[in-house]
């Protein structure tokens, strides 16, 4: 089992469900995993699963520069979630 308090399979299964929510929030500007977690109220490790899944399939992309406290920010990419 991978790190994470919920079963990984369960978290990953929900990714399609979260795409629009995340994209709507990122429409305001790029955010770190922690910032997305704080705003949406889901654990940061689950946000990471969803962001990386969305990144893999073209919904979000990373901003190249890392923040001072060591986080990347993520922005909406071309593909739009429903």
């Amino acid at each position: 089992m991978m790190p994470g308090r919920r079963d990984v399979r369960e978290v990953i299964r929900e990714e399609p469900l979260r795409r629009r929510e995340i994209q709507t929030m990122l429409a305001d500007g790029a955010k770190t995993i922690r910032e997305i977690s704080a705003q949406l109220g889901y654990p940061s490790e689950e946000i990471l699963f969803w962001i990386m899944g969305m990144r893999k399939y073209g919904y979000v992309a990373e901003v190249p520069e890392v923040t001072e406290d060591g986080y990347y920010r993520y922005r909406n990419a071309d593909r739009e979630a429903f």
């Binding site: 790190p3 940061s44 986080y71």
Partner: protein, 893 residues
């Protein structure tokens, strides 16, 4: 086909064995259970101690193996058994379907992009999602897509109408509401009708039902129908080129409508003849509006008109010959069960006695009788009786008493319908038959049994026990049968009025006349009738084209079992179902719909509760996206047998499951990962865009390695050294310092084992680059609130003091374990294993690779922990043994 050698496994040892044997002219069959060859090595970042790119070394081997003229490779295949036959070996192999035509697939990944199901990516150590349609990894060989299907999802498997329930649920989860509507349309145009009035066997089968409650699959269908009809008036389906043969369908109930839908989409001009003034059959005429509003049925029926189906209402067909004379090439009788079964008791023809069908039809079509202040008796125990009773309440009845032969538990009506009727004020008299009907009520007689010893309907009564029930109106729902009297001169009809057909072809006694639905089977549900319509359409299409119809139904994998689904997760977070919240009131006085629709938020949430039982949802998005038309869901396992002279076992190893060391917190702590996961993070095809800690995406600055996790450890049953952990950790340390120059790396080890050429130098180089090697056995790891980890260890170099240090990421250098898959090939206890369950080499020193079974050899880590160069060397030894065996045997023959 025969081969000289069967090689099981296509990791570096398997590939090396196959290529070497092929180069020597031997015919080799290499079988790999995954969808790509390459084993674990192709997933590594780099190799030690040279830091060569693992992919750069593996991919030429993979290409050489797959293209070798003497090597046949079967991927996504498993050896089931191997047994000796006449001095050779017979291997039984199962080739699992990819559901993708390998010759046509270009590896474009468009299916993967379109897929609506996300699962953990096993090729990225479960650190990121992949889709159910996927290409294993970028360097996969063959680079062909595969659809992961564990079986047919129970909801889809059980739908009588063939609706891909899992598919539309997964589309709703992805927000693709219109595509979900279109997916249901592939089976039936009755999307809104089934969304409200289906008895939803899918929900009874839903695996989530074993947890907090089933996914509300039917209401999700209603949601997509309502949403579609709010904004669109065209079904938006593509029709086939027009065909010349016209088809007549008699009856516009669910069976007739669904058959018409499929035939029209195939290009046939279809005319429906409906005797009533309104098309739609029972959904339009008799199912009360509080369950199914007329407008919903009308919208569904309009789907047919939109694709050109000619629906002629008020036209009764009593003679099939007339249709033939009008030029129809085929006729489908889908006349339903519109006639009522009579009670055959005195008083049945009195003026205040009415059949339930006539009553419900009057109510539904706006000719509502007033039952104000009347006492109503409804006779019957089925759903029609329940509908009648609840409708009578809504028409102002003072009381409604439902009399049925059966006990409440045995009533044919759905239990929830009975419960709702009672909550609305319907009174039940169970276990009574009707003796007679009079002006002021009914005479009841005690029913002692409804079925005889053979299980046939044959009610028995106790005439000594009777009762009078007063009533101003009696509604009889004693059963339904086809109104087929006028057809009896042309087609064969059973005594109960049902039309006789060939069970397979649905043909009647007239070659061009088919019959289906309730007219053949007796009363059924809307979904069952719709399914009968699909079957009829397929049979008519086949008969007219004189060729098999694709409507006949695709081969499906077996229904996936609920236990297997639930076993995929160790635990489930609670996700309560959305409450039905039906608007049930005592003695309702209107026909307003009682069940609310799901909001968009509720529909998305509910679809998110789906467990993806079959993995692939059959949503068809991959099929639509594939530019090569390469995806075919109708494939099944292929079983084949082959004869070989020799077998090489190259089944590799398993990694130690790190959660078996609970003191390290793997699986509980977000930022504790395994060495293989770190290798993936460092690989060019990594799951993230760089090395990040999984807890929150932070770039790690202080990383700890815990050596000997699951090796040299008797507490987990593995006293052996895994040989590779020290060196892969050193390799990763060097790569981390390249990728994250500011990061500190500490390694907690007992000692560092550097037994290969250049290994000690590599270790020293790692230390010189800045890795902090700590001699200490780690006792425990504790997670802090910020996700950092406290490593508590015994400091060997400082008199065994207990020390603590904080890190933001911990890597467990997990060891290797034997792969037990190898044990099943030859049957119980035939293949010799060593004390640690690796394949035993009977003469490891003088004849490496030789097992206890003559002709069977082991290559690589299936025999014990090895690094890559050792594995390749060992494969060479196994090849030499196999060749010596084959040639020796041939000399003797």
């Amino acid at each position: 086909m025969d081969y000289d050698v069967l090689v099981i496994g296509s990791g570096i040892s398997g590939m090396e064995s196959a290529i070497k044997l092929g180069d020597m002219g031997y015919r080799v069959l290499m079988v790999e259970k995954e969808a790509s060859i390459g084993g674990k090595m192709i997933l590594l970042s780099k190799v030690f101690p040279t830091l060569d790119c693992a992919s750069c070394i593996s991919t030429p081997k993979m290409a050489a193996a797959i293209h070798h003229p003497k090597v046949t490779t079967m991927t996504y295949s498993e050896v089931e058994t191997i047994r000796r036959v006449d001095g050779r070996f017979q291997a039984e192999i199962v080739k699992h379907p990819r559901f993708v035509d390998e010759a046509a697939c270009t590896g474009c990944q468009q299916c993967e992009t379109a897929c609506t199901v996300s699962v953990p990516d096993q090729f990225n150590s479960d650190m990121v999602a992949r889709h159910a349609a996927y290409i294993p990894f970028p360097q996969a060989v063959p680079k062909k897509a595969v659809l992961e299907r564990a079986g047919t999802s129970p909801c889809t498997a059980t739908c009588p109408a063939g609706v891909k329930a899992h598919g539309y649920v997964s589309l709703v989860r992805s927000g693709e509401y219109e595509k979900a509507f279109e997916l249901v349309l592939q089976s039936t145009p009755l999307v809104g009708t089934l969304g409200r009035a289906c008895f939803a066997p899918c929900e009874s089968e839903c695996s989530r039902g074993s947890l907090e409650g089933a996914v509300p699959i039917r209401r999700i269908k209603r949601f997509i129908a309502d949403r579609h009809y709010q904004s669109k008036h065209s079904p938006g389906v593509i029709l086939k080129a027009p065909k010349g043969q016209r088809i007549a369908i008699v009856g516009s109930g669910p069976a007739g409508i669904t058959a018409a839908w499929h035939l029209a989409r195939k290009g046939y001009p279809v005319t429906i003849f409906e005797a009533e003034a309104i098309a739609g059959g029972a959904p339009a005429l008799t199912i009360p509006s509080y369950r199914l509003p007329s407008a919903v049925v009308a919208q569904d029926i309009d789907n047919l008109r939109q694709i050109g189906v000619d629906i002629r209402t008020g036209v009764r067909i009593d003679n099939v010959q007339t249709l033939s004379e009008q030029g129809f090439a085929a006729v489908l009788m889908a006349i339903g069960t519109t006639a009522s079964v009579r009670l055959r008791v005195p008083g049945e023809d009195l003026e205040h006695v009415q059949s339930a069908l006539a009553f419900l039809q009057a109510v539904k079509t706006g000719k509502r009788p007033s039952l104000l202040q009347m006492d109503v008796v409804v006779v019957g125990g089925g759903n029609v009786a329940i509908d009648s009773a609840r409708s009578a309440l809504r028409l102002g009845a003072n009381s409604v008493r439902l009399v049925s032969l059966e006990t409440r538990l045995d009533m044919p009506a759905f239990s929830w319908e009975i419960d709702e009727a009672v909550r609305e004020g319907v009174e039940l008299s169970n276990g009574w038959g009707i003796q007679s009907i009079s002006e002021d009520g009914v005479e009841l007689v005690r029913c002692t049994a409804t079925l005889d010893a053979e299980g046939r309907f044959n009610p028995q009564y106790d005439p000594a026990v009777t009762q009078h029930v007063g009533g101003d109106r009696v509604i009889v729902a004693a059963g339904m049968k086809p109104d087929s009297e006028s057809w009896q001169s042309e087609v064969m009809v059973k005594p109960n009025g049902r039309i006789m057909v060939d069970a397979d072809t649905l043909k009647t006694s007239i070659p061009y006349v088919f019959a289906t639905g309730d007219a053949v089977t007796g009363p059924s549900t809307i979904a069952e009738a719709a399914g009968a319509g699909v079957k009829a359409a397929a049979q008519i299409d086949e008969w007219l084209r004189k060729a098999p119809s694709r409507l006949s139904g695709e081969a499906k994998p077996p229904k996936v079992q609920r236990d297997a689904v639930l076993a995929r997760q160790t635990h489930y977070a609670e996700r309560l179902p959305v409450k039905a919240d039906k608007a049930l009131v005592f003695k309702p006085r209107d026909f307003a719909e009682i069940e609310p629709g799901l909001t968009e938020q509720e529909a998305r949430y509910s679809s998110g509760r789906c467990l993806d039982c079959g993995v692939c949802s059959e949503c068809q998005e991959c099929i639509a996206a594939c530019p090569a038309d390469a995806i075919h869901l109708d494939r099944t396992d292929e079983h084949l047998a082959t004869m070989v002279d020799s077998v090489i076992l190259a089944t590799g190893f398993k990694l130690f499951p790190a959660d078996l060391k609970p003191q390290y917190g793997y699986g509980r702590y977000k930022n504790v990962i395994t060495g293989m996961q770190m290798d993936r993070l460092l690989a060019p095809t990594r799951p993230y865009h760089t090395v990040l800690r999984p807890g929150d995406g932070k770039v790690p600055e202080n990383i700890a390695y815990i050596m000997c996790t699951g090796s040299r450890d008797k507490t987990v049953g593995n006293p052996l050294c895994s040989k590779i952990c020290c060196m892969y950790s050193n390799k990763q340390n060097q790569l981390i310092m390249g990728a994250l120059p500011l990061a500190d790396v500490s390694v907690y080890d007992i000692d560092m084992r550097t037994t290969g050429k250049g290994y000690e130098e590599f270790y020293l180089q790692t230390a010189e680059m800045g890795t902090n090697f700590v001699k200490g056995r780690v006792a425990e790891i504790v997670e802090k609130d910020d996700g950092n980890l406290i490593v508590r260890y015994e400091d060997i170099e400082h008199e065994g003091q207990i020390q603590e240090s904080e890190h933001d990421l911990v890597v467990l250098a997990v060891g290797v374990q034997p792969n037990h898959d190898v044990e099943r090939f030859f049957g119980p206890n035939l293949l010799g294993l060593d004390d640690y369950d690796y394949v035993n080499e009977t003469d490891e020193t003088m004849s490496p690779g030789k097992t206890n079974i003559p002709g069977v050899y082991v290559a690589g880590t299936a025999a014990g922990a090895k690094d890559i160069p050792e594995s390749i060397l060992h494969a060479g030894a196994a090849v030499a043994q196999a060749v010596a065996y084959i040639e020796g045997r041939r000399l003797h023959i």
